[in-house]
């Protein structure tokens, strides 16, 4: 494993909160093994806005105390086995949310405000089980209850993107939830397919899809670093591999066996 990935993983300390993106946005699967080997536990995962393979692996590895999410699944490959098992066993605390509430919490952090209001939610058991959320009467109208979501300020955001330049600017294209995570987080760790020599801010076309280095703590190259997930505009998901994982991870033993061979980047056969 590359030393720079190990170095990035070392920035995560026990008990930290980690923001991780939805499966199609750019999951840094390449960071999964370094995180597990590093072993910082008691993590609070914030799924933006849902989780998948990476979340399931970190749970299976015993590093997770809390999952804050709108869902965890392996998509076409079915339910997330280690997550589902941990919930049933009561091994993790689950903070069930709904997608726009996660976005609202991150946006509150981005704006430097203590909360953001959100419509919906009222009367749901999602809201009923979130004592950390509030309902107030909209001060601009009569008897109009509205839910408030407190700011979500992750310690670290981790994702994978197509490219970065040597100044640390990262091209995220239209996956702006990656920017939202970085704005909200104290530190942001990024793996990329390639590092380019020209500045991504040098022309307006690439600049439009670029997260500025101001928000980026470290970048490391990890080709096919989202595998077995795909990366938009780059490569497709490896559904067979996800199925293989889903079958193996049904038991703790099967999970351990699968993980023994998992590098986190596709290794040419």
């Amino acid at each position: 494993m590359a030393q720079d990935l190990r170095d990035m993983a070392r920035r995560v300390t026990p008990g930290m909160s980690l923001a991780l993106p939805v499966d199609y946005a750019g999951v840094s699967m390449a960071m999964t093994r370094p995180l597990i080997e590093h072993g910082a536990g008691g993590l609070h995962l914030v799924c933006v806005p849902t989780g998948g393979l990476q979340v399931d692996m970190l749970i299976g590895a015993g590093l997770v105390a809390t999952v804050e999410t709108s869902a965890v699944s392996l998509g076409e490959a079915g339910g997330a086995p280690r997550f589902n098992d941990a919930v049933r066993q009561g091994d993790i605390r689950i903070l069930d949310a709904t997608c726009p509430a996660i976005h609202a919490g991150l946006m509150a952090a981005q704006k430097g405000v203590p909360f953001l209001p959100i419509r919906g939610l009222i009367g749901s058991d999602v809201l009923a089980n979130r004592p950390d959320w509030r309902v107030i009467d909209n001060p601009f109208a009569a008897s109009d209850p509205v839910a408030l979501i407190p700011a979500i300020r992750p310690d670290v955001a981790i994702f994978h993107a197509p490219m970065a330049d040597r100044e640390g600017n990262v091209w995220i294209g239209r996956r702006r939830e990656l920017a939202a995570m970085a704005y909200a987080a104290s530190e942001t760790l990024v793996t990329v397919e390639r590092i380019v020599d020209r500045s991504l801010l040098a022309d307006e076309m690439t600049a439009a899809g670029t997260l500025p280095a101001l928000y980026v703590s470290a970048v490391a190259q990890a080709p096919r670093g989202a595998w077995p997930y795909g990366l938009w505009g780059e490569y497709a998901s490896d559904t067979d591999e996800l199925m293989r994982y889903a079958a193996a991870a049904r038991t703790a033993k099967g999970f351990a066996e699968y993980m023994a061979g998992f590098v986190g980047q596709e290794v040419p056969a």
Binding site: A71, N84, V87, A97, S124, S143, P145, A180
Partner: protein, 255 residues
Amino acid sequence: MSAALPREILICTIARLLDGVRHVAVGASSPMPAAGAMLRRALDDGQRPVRLSILGSVEHNFFTNGSAELFDSAGQGRLDAFFLGGGQIDGQANVNLVGVGDYPQVKVRWPGSFGSAYLYFTVPRVILFREEHSPRVLVDKVDFISAPGTSAPGVYRTGGPVALLTGKALFRFDKARPGFTLESVHPGHDLDEIRAATGFAFDHAETPAATPAPDTATLSLLRGRVLDELAETYPAFAAEWRSDLAALTREGSPA
């Protein structure tokens, strides 16, 4: 042209339920709602543009502001229709996407509520779609309300459920009562079967209507343009459908 397959009747029913929409969104693993929306678009071609967003798809994604944009556009009133499934759906149209048993340590855990707790409030035409029609799914009372079917007066709500479509029947939802009314029964099913398979009480005519089969023009559009379009995003689903159509033709041909 051979008679409509059960799934084709479902897709055509979805297209009917989408009559008049400008913008419809479907989840990532929802080939039938997607096919219904594509059929709607094909039927409205030249009259009204129908925009279709498939979550997680690169091809059918015209959003450029990350995964928050779908919810933002719903909040702005720019999303007319959406589909919700549900591990459990009850007679009040409450939806459970979280699990069976006592929360949080549920016996069976499903992925989670996704955007339901928001979109159910803000999308005018939410179609509940679940092929499995059984007392396990259609329950009297859900174990966890991911999203409530109705809201108390005064709660801001511009959207909600309009219909429930299963593999056996189509129900309309009446939010005033609140409750479901059986609208039609799909070919090959009957009221007794539906009563037995439904865990909640519902209104119905003495002799419920049959879900209409598509006319030849619609069926031809569906098996041509729509199936081709669908194959780009859901290749496995489209291939299975094509093979069923081929089998149907073989069966039919000797006659």
